[in-house]
């Protein structure tokens, strides 16, 4: 048995069913072994598409996503995707070929120091120097990627190691003396947390991506106590989007109710989130009335990193919630809820109707047509925020987006990974014309594997989010954001790939367009030509606080008042 075969066997033993990847010189021995392997391979058209697909596969399924690439350029094309998976704590194992050991360090053809480059953007990485180490390294990589705070792990395999004769064993024991995540919350702290919540007058629950797997416990805890729930962008779906206890998303483009609730809360229970600057705004003005912040996270380094924490609980969201649930009691929060209801009814998410088709109404139409029962992926920008605002997903692991890194172009490869992970689900990629063009080569992957993904391109002809900032903060100096003069005809582009293309340009054709997308048998690229000057509101400007929230475009507000 060669090293390459040992690698695939080790992957099989980890339960790997699918690998996203792209071959090349230094990984050829492994691709040769793959020819006889039961593991399915999805050939992408660019390695970045592969790593994003593996990321979404992991997020949609809860299992480890696997991506494979060759040395040098192939491996370096994974960099953005690895950083994305790292920022959003997603379990991914990347396998890269490298030049033969004797050539490492000689600037050989397609050589790059991939373990060096990926060190700060992976949870851990390996350069395998000895063929018999392969099973141990694979075992460790999967364990590290999927346990504790999940994250990407890279395994770099020199070509001659893949070709060397394997004489080791697959029965390897984990021996990671420096890696022992704490999963069980401290009972004393849990007791203190319950006590603080019981005495609270204006408590809130904030939940992030670290609680996607704890949705059942979370729902039970929220319903038992009656505490209002706020989910971050990464936490969307961890709580049902149609639940009366849900106040929406916090932060820069969050709801008025969620941001005001944080501002006025006296006790905050935050679970599986890291107080990103898009959530907190100016930290010194974040949650000024909270005398107790309880922070539950599996990564001790996140506790106290950004906000002051009064009750730290290091542990797994699910285990901690189970413990919290044991002592949870219904709280008397009638006055608090009256206030919250007032904010919620007075300031729902809304938009100013225009004679043009608008992104918000397109997304809302899809949400209503599907009842929120779809896996939504997005690119990054205005359309991403609109999707977060107007497509309240009903179930966990169903809103797959790039939160921390904000990687444009993830929408289509994320949809591919999600569809491969959960083929029975409807998968919709809400994309922007800018984001979509960063990875649209993966349309070929949809065709190759007959993946029924619905791509909805909200084409406003601009890099809309940058345009919005230029509008609000740069005196309308629209520097290098105009795309409409050179965008392709998206429907015809789809047709060139053999994919059904749909184009909707007028408001009155919206429902017809939505039906055309949802009723299509197979993948669709639907271009919705939307209002080009739309802005995402509410908005808390970067570095601002809840009180600085802008509810609508300043120019439009004047119109109303005049």
């Amino acid at each position: 048995m060669k090293g390459a075969e040992a690698l695939l066997k080790a992957l099989e033993r980890e339960g790997v069913e699918v690998i996203f990847g792209h071959p090349g010189g230094a990984i050829m021995p492994t691709y040769d072994a793959l020819y006889d392997s039961p593991i399915r391979h999805i050939l992408v058209r660019h390695e970045q598409g592969g790593v994003h697909a593996a990321t979404a596969y992991a997020r949609a399924s809860g299992r480890v996503g696997v991506v494979m690439a060759t040395s040098g350029p192939g491996a370096l094309n994974l960099v953005t995707g690895l950083a994305d998976a790292f920022m959003d704590s997603t379990p991914v194992v990347a396998i890269t070929g490298n030049v033969p050991r004797a050539l490492i360090g000689t600037d050989a053809f397609q050589e790059a120091d991939v373990t060096g480059v990926t060190m700060p953007i992976t949870k851990h990485n390996y350069l395998v120097q000895e063929v018999n180490d392969i099973p141990r390294v694979v075992r460790e990589a999967f364990h590290i990627a999927s346990s504790g705070r999940p994250g990407p792990v890279l395994i770099d395999l020199p070509k001659d190691v893949q070709l060397a004769e394997f004489a080791g064993t697959f029965d390897v024991e984990l021996d990671l003396p420096g890696y022992k995540p704490t999963t069980k919350g401290h009972p004393k702290q849990i007791e203190r947390a319950l006590d603080a919540l019981e005495k609270a007058e204006r408590p809130i629950l904030m939940v992030g991506g670290g609680a996607q797997h704890a949705h059942g416990e979370f729902l039970a805890f929220a319903e038992r106590t009656g505490i209002p729930v706020i989910t971050t962008l990464m936490g969307l779906g961890a709580f049902p989007g149609n639940h009366p206890l849900w106040l929406g998303m916090p932060g820069m483009h969050g709801t008025v109710a969620a941001n005001r609730a944080i501002h006025h809360a006296d006790v905050i229970l935050a679970i599986g989130l890291r107080f990103d600057d898009r959530v907190t705004g100016k930290v010194s003005r974040f949650a000024p009335h909270a005398h107790t912040i309880i922070h539950v996270d599996i990564d001790p380094a996140e506790i106290g990193k950004v906000v002051r924490t009064h009750i730290p609980i290091v542990g797994d969201a699910r285990q901690v919630l189970r413990e919290l649930l044991k002592g949870a009691k219904p709280l008397k929060l009638a006055a608090w809820w009256r206030q919250l209801e007032e904010w919620r009814t007075r300031h729902p998410l809304r938009w100013k109707p225009k004679p043009y088709l608008q992104s918000q109404e397109v997304i809302k139409a899809f949400a209503e047509a599907t009842g929120g029962h779809a896996i939504v992926t997005t690119g990054v920008g205005q359309h991403q925020m609109f999707a977060a605002q107007f497509f309240p997903v009903a179930r966990p692991r169903s809103f797959i987006t790039s939160g921390g890194l904000g990687t444009m172009g993830v929408g289509l490869p994320f949809a591919i990974g999600a569809k491969v992970a959960r083929p029975e689900e409807l998968v919709i990629d809400f994309d922007g014309d800018g984001s979509f063009q960063m990875t649209l080569q993966e349309l070929a992957t949809l065709v190759k594997y007959k993946l029924d993904v619905k791509v909805v391109v909200l084409n406003n002809g601009y890099l809309g989010m940058v345009r919005q900032w230029q509008d609000l903060f740069h005196a309308r100096r629209y520097s290098e954001v105009y795309l409409a003069d050179s965008n392709p005809d998206f429907a015809r582009l789809a047709e060139a790939y053999g994919i059904k293309g749909v184009r909707v340009e007028r408001k009155e054709d919206l429902m017809k367009g939505v039906e055309a997308v949802l009723n299509a048998d197979g993948p669709v690229v639907a271009e919705f030509k939307v209002y080009h000057e739309e802005g995402v509101f509410p908005m808390i400007p970067a570095g601002g606080a809840a009180e600085d929230m802008i509810l609508e475009h300043p120019a439009e507000r004047e119109e109303v008042e005049a």
């Binding site: 373990t115 060096g116 060190m119 700060p120 949870k123 851990h124 350069l127 364990h143 590290i144 346990s147 504790g148 984990l174 990671l176 003396p177 420096g178 890696y179 022992k180 995540p181 999963t183 990564d299 001790p300 380094a301 106290g304 990193k305 797994d316």
Partner: protein
């Protein structure tokens, strides 16, 4: 504030890279660094001198602990021994200077480790401040070169830097 931190690591390739990379990436201020093997095969020990406020130091410790190959991190706030070693090559033109330098050497309990016609190499062990003063004392005679190690540290008494007890893996 200045802190001395000891880190016990598995001596895998690039482990030092991971630590210095972490400091660079997070903008922690690293004043000195010393590394060496320990009496346990496979384990190395690193001493770091770091400056920063309490919040920064808490993050330094926590971020170091996130590294898979880091077994233990200790901030030596308790009574501890701290040492640095310096080699100083000093110019000595004549007998008079040689005697004066010898006085300084004796006062600091340094050792002469190389004698040449026009120079001496002195070796001194001590904490950073002592070495600073030693260098200042020698400066008027013409220092040719100085090599200092980073500070190394160890807790006094029974306390040791041991590998954490094995707990149930997830």
């Amino acid at each position: 504030m200045r802190h001395v931190i000891s880190v016990l690591v598995q001596d895998h390739p690039r482990v030092l890279n991971r630590i210095t990379g972490l400091f660079a990436r997070r903008g922690f201020n690293l004043e000195s660094l010393a590394v060496g093997t320990t009496h346990v095969p496979g384990l190395s020990r690193i001493s770091l001198v770091v400056s920063g406020d309490d919040h920064t130091l808490e993050q330094v410790e926590k971020q170091l602990n996130r590294l898979i190959e880091v077994l233990k991190v200790t901030d030596h706030s308790e009574p501890h021994v701290e040492r640095e070693l310096a080699l100083v090559k000093v110019h000595v033109a004549g007998v008079e200077e040689r005697l004066a330098v010898k006085d300084i050497q004796e006062a600091f309990r340094a050792r002469v480790v190389d004698v040449a016609q026009k120079s001496l190499i002195l070796e001194l062990t001590g904490d950073s401040k002592k070495i600073d003063s030693f260098i200042e004392a020698l400066r008027p005679y013409g220092i040719l070169e100085v090599m200092r190690t980073g500070a190394v540290a160890m807790s006094r008494g029974e306390r040791t830097l041991k590998v954490r007890e094995k707990r149930e893996a997830v």
